[in-house]
Symmetry: C2
Subunit: 111 residues, 2 copies
DNA sequence: CATCTCCGTAAGTCATGACTTACCGTAAGT
DNA sequence: ACTTACGGTAAGTCATGACTTACGGAGATG
């Protein structure tokens, strides 16, 4: 029924637009918290909380550098997401094709 | 900055575990609402509301059949998701590789 | 037509979670 | 050692949204 709590946390983390904005911002490379907060209309602690959620979901990595903490996208997290989506995708396509087939057969029988 | 409200609605819809359970349930093929509600510990109206959210996010298709309404996964919705993830994925991998490279170069310089 | 099943909508309740300010560590610079 | 920048945590507020029950409409069945 569930693909595990990991995927669960991942999708929950991605559900928030601000967190996706953070991910987008990190696409070009690692950044410290202050830089991330400067681009967003929310307070720095709020950013910290979002980063925490993303990290616990396995989507971010942290590398302390002096007094700063550089956040970067975790390839493993994205990989898990893609794996999940690929599964849903394949099954859905197969199911869709089968349904379309059945539908076409039924229509052909009817007309 | 945003990939559009469509992707926004899609991720929001996927953020709820019950809705992902509905998607999982529909992977094998279209089902009417009563069947979907039977598998979940929530009321049927709650299921209807989730189905509405998923439909508006472009993730589900509806095909009325008499008094029933068959819900099925919308391939286009999943496709949009994959496209978005592919973009994030590619950029992140490139950024990660670049960062790792810089890190390795710095480490080599230091030692 | 009467009835029954299927299902969407409305209204209201309640939990979750996204923000705020205030505070406290930790590391670098003087 | 003192100060300053960075950033995580705590506590509290407030909006969002996930559920409930009650209701109404639309199609099948007698």
């Amino acid at each position: 029924m569930t693909y595990g709590d990991a995927i669960d946390a991942t999708f929950h983390a991605l559900g928030d637009p601000t967190r996706r904005a953070l991910l987008d911002r990190l696409r070009t490379g690692p950044l410290p918290v202050c830089d991330l907060a400067a681009d967003l209309p929310i307070s720095r602690p709020a950013v910290s909380q979002h980063l925490r959620v993303l990290s616990e979901a396995g989507l971010l990595l942290v590398t302390p550098q002096g007094t700063r903490r550089l956040y970067s996208i975790a390839p493993d997290g994205i990989a898990a997401l893609r794996t999940y989506l690929d599964t849903v995708w394949d099954d859905a396509l197969a199911g869709f094709a089968a349904a379309a087939h059945a539908q076409a057969a039924k229509a052909a029988r009817k007309e």
